[in-house]
Symmetry: C2
Subunit: 271 residues, 2 copies
């Protein structure tokens, strides 16, 4: 940790990224890396980069001008613990650091792999991915969107990064296109599962279980997949999609145990 | 431009990055690229990425929780024209897009060059560069820092990106280490010149000339290099540093005309 007046920035970044969380995205990177015998060191570095990117998105999402949340993982949000300016900067810096790590020699010896990781994560988290989805999400609180738009919102906001994590192992392992495409399919279904499960938990779990405010989608009048499909319909969809996701893993046999566990976790998680 | 509800995000990004500005950083990328016969297409893409990164930093800097500015380049700032949430997202997305562009195949055929560009820009704009400097800057408004810390703040906040722009041509052109180091030296001195000139303009120029609020450093009680050196001392330092910067360009002869012009511009600019 650097000393000097900028130490506060590092402190806020550490608070944001080391304060718990499920580490679901790094788990997916580890799982997809396991399919191709990728070095643990490389998978961990990519997992760390993705987790930093995820943490940045939460820090900015929690800001007063966005979701205005005081609580995250049972702790004060970054702008509550520090201040708004520090939260904006800490998020910006985590995003930047994610790309620095991916592009670093130490992540992979092959620069083509590094450039591809940067490109893939940037696409997944930009205007056609996560932040584009967040923009739609903000507007969904005031406007009525149809089912197609809500699906697209979810795929962009949460799905794109999850898809990237499922592909990351294939990029690191320089996998053949068919195997990589199988992981894209797996990641797409898993991402949708994750979102449906999240929407269900927002309705059924307590704030204590979740470590953050619940019921807020309904309170904000937000259109969710569960709102469209109903609770029972959503649960059926979740089962269906997670089975479908699992089928994409068939070519990998037993090496896919971690990714299979990820799909099981998604439909069973309680927070 | 995409249609759909996320079009507002793209609109805000375009507003932030296409609404004028000196394009000083892309000019430096073009100037350093000219030294090594880099393809114009590659230099333009890197210049665009750097300008997007610069625009993101301005959008976030102008937010109410940061500098709280209503005016930028004579126009309403992004959060005034749109809203705060959109400004946060537009900044995030411009930062992300900068890295996407650098990592894209279309920027350079050699992936090592692309990875190095990403790594260099990320380092220059992260905790040990721009955002770290911004953190110190925020604290400098309330605390007294010594000359060394103010110098370090400026080098991090503005200098690091300018240094990167001056090196970008060497990265794109796969220049030898000695030539690259000459550009690092040039960039460091030029960055400091740029900051001193900026501080001087904050005192001597009108808001109309600058297209933004002036005199705000003094009003905020911010320690600047001009505050430390005095106006006359700062002007002398500016002359000295710009001459010193020019000397680094000697090995390049006439091909350095653009970069020489950049140094001249910095000491003569009126906005």
């Amino acid at each position: 940790m650097p000393e000097g007046p900028e130490a506060r920035l590092h402190e806020a970044m550490r608070y944001a990224v080391l304060g718990g969380g499920k580490r679901f995205r790094p788990f997916l990177v580890a799982g997809s890396s396991a399919l191709f015998g990728v070095a643990r060191h490389a998978a961990l570095r990519v997992g760390a980069a993705v987790e930093m990117l995820h943490a940045y998105s939460l820090v900015h999402d929690d800001l007063p001008c966005m979701d205005d949340d005081d609580l995250r993982r049972g702790q004060p949000t970054v702008h509550k613990k520090f201040d708004e300016a520090t939260a904006v900067l800490a998020g910006d810096t985590l995003l930047t650091l994610a790309f620095e790590i991916l592009a670093d020699d130490d992540t992979h010896a092959d620069p083509k792999v590094r450039a591809e990781l940067v490109h893939g994560l940037a696409r997944a988290s930009g205007a056609r991915g996560m932040t584009g989805g967040q923009m739609i999400d903000i507007r969904a609180q005031k406007e009525d969107f149809d089912e197609g738009t809500i699906m697209r919102l979810q795929r962009m906001k949460t799905g794109a990064i999850i898809e990237f994590c499922c592909q990351a192992g294939a990029i690191l392992g320089r996998a053949s296109p068919p195997l990589r495409h199988a992981l894209v399919g797996y990641g797409r279904d898993l991402g949708l599962c994750f979102q449906i499960a999240d929407d269900l938990l927002d309705i059924t779990a307590t704030a204590e279980e979740m470590g953050k405010r619940t019921g807020k989608d309904a309170a904000a009048g937000k259109a969710t997949l569960v709102g469209i499909l109903g609770i029972e319909g959503a649960k059926r969809q979740l089962e269906l999609l997670s089975r479908q996701a699992g089928e994409y893993l068939a070519p990998f046999g037993e090496r896919a145990a971690l990714l299979q566990a990820a799909a099981d976790f998604v439909i069973r998680r309680r927070n």
